[in-house]
Amino acid sequence: MASTEDNAGTPLLSVEDLRVYFHGDDTVSRAVDGIDFTVGPRETVCLVGESGCGKTVSALAVLGLIPTPPGRIVSGRIVFAGTDLAKMEEEELRKIRGNRIAMVFQEPLTSLNPVFTIEDQISEAIRIHHPMSEEALRRRCVELLGDVGISSPEDRLSDYPHQLSGGQRQRVMIAMALACDPELIIADEPTTALDVTVQSQILMLFSSIQLRRSMSILYITHDLGVVAGVADRVYVMYAGIIVEQAGTVQLFGSAKHPYTQGLLASLPSRSRRGQRLYSIPGSVPNPARKPSGCPFHPRCGHAIASCRTEYPPMCDYGQGHFARCPVLFESAGRKVPR
């Protein structure tokens, strides 16, 4: 895994001021409301947040997969290896999607086609971008299945998805994602549907593949335990915006946003036995009816009058650690940018 310093150069993916809105009959849901993030070469970056925070929509926007209508990319630049994907025609985008950027989804059984064999599905992924002979295709499939840790891959080629276990299906999905040697893999909750022992094997697989192939991974998850295990850097999302970004060690060691602090304090563990768990009051706002000012203010113990009206600026704690909370920034004795 790359260290944070490596990313001083040009990022592989750079998303700037991305806004994705969904239009209902008489409402507009601002699912993603002005976010910036980067993924450096060979870096693992996590977007973490609860359901409805906009993390999956952000990932789909990068791949140009927002269902339109009702969704629409209202503004923003999505710069991948120097070109703006947001400006690209569908035709050109298709050459990048699955080829230079691949995606792994949460539920492998619904993303795999039940009536085709494993070989059919992996070779289709290759054939679309790199036509080659049947013989070469088969060799490549076997090689890929071996890479993702499927034992005796030759015998697995003719299997159908239902014949595999959940963990094996997710391995096949990863093999398909790797088929064209992508520079970036976007993994959306790839282990949420799996058992813990299988989950840790899949997470290990991701890191070992990343080392071998020097790819970047954008990981989308709600699980802070998974984040701690895989990420180099983390972006915490809440109600469509990024509230905090930091290196993994800084984030878990000294979170600077009340939401992140609350999440970390509310995690149950055996070391907290006998103590009452902290719990963030209230629940996540409806994306169509977001609070004004800082979207977290109704649930925040530090909120002051201005939090209700003023959109909070990103405050720089140094070393790549940013948090969108001027109240805590000032109480740490720093001057808030205006």
């Binding site: 609860e50 813990v196 022992t197 149950p268 996540v284």
Partner: protein, 338 residues
Amino acid sequence: MKDRPNTETPILQVSGLKKYFPVRRGFFQRISGWIHAVDGVDLSVPPGETLGLVGESGCGKSTVARTVLRLLDPEAGSIRFDGEEISDLTEAELKPVRRKMQIVFQDPYGSLNPRMTVGQSIAEGLRAFGIRSAAKRQSRTAELLEMVGLSADSAERFPHEFSGGQRQRVGIARALSVEPELVICDEPISALDVSIQAQIINLLKDLQERLGLSYLFISHDLNVVGYLCDRVAVMYAGKIMEEAPAMALFEDPRHPYTRKLLSAIPEPDPSRKSRAAEALQGEPEAEPRPEAAPEGCPFLSACEDRDASCEHLEDALYPVAEGHLVRCPKASGKVDSA
């Protein structure tokens, strides 16, 4: 949490519980074998305590819950509730017992009738409890809703008007409506957002203190189990592999499966990253086959410490320390092979 072992009559005492499901094959759906979903399980829940039952999907933990409630009929074994044998009671005889054991499900949305107001759903239980006066039912419903942290006027609303956490509160209110002594919680927080999980865990603890409830807490989330439970039983392929006081299980796990499970916990601590990576490298993905029910240890094929003796394992749990049992004669010895 209790310091001394509880010597009162257990509220629930299960011994030798077995539940098999037929495997049907072919055109005539002939029974070709049996899945040993629960294969000789012993459990005991002392009054006012929480027993955690952990394991991965398919290990039989939910089948234990359903069999204990007699929603499924056991093949063999005894289920004693408050000292009374209930495994052979008829439906009519079960009715008064069922009132004292309730269940809270993972997905409260699936277990609430969408066409009934929340008040009607709760009042249904009260009617079954024998409260005939509508006014009394109404005031009791209001009381129950307030007990779980909802406003009394939520009774007029429908399940879809609530958030996930609020729906789980309704599910708990409904379970409590008949004043049970034992509540079986089947993955009660797995479907909830991280910031909501702590709210529900705190609620379950408060209710236990206030009402003296006993819990059988079924979960795959070892962080929650380590926080909440007094004792923990680890289940694999229909059998209990290890049972111990919660702290002993986490600090001195003996069974190779328990160790594997614990090392796979995703913990929100980045410094553990490398350690977890070492523990799991190159491990085979093996799955129990409950259909086969091998004579030897069910964990045999995935175990690193196996030898010839494991193929003929006596069906027994071996004592390690007071209240600490393990289904592995080698692991019960004082030699630590980790």
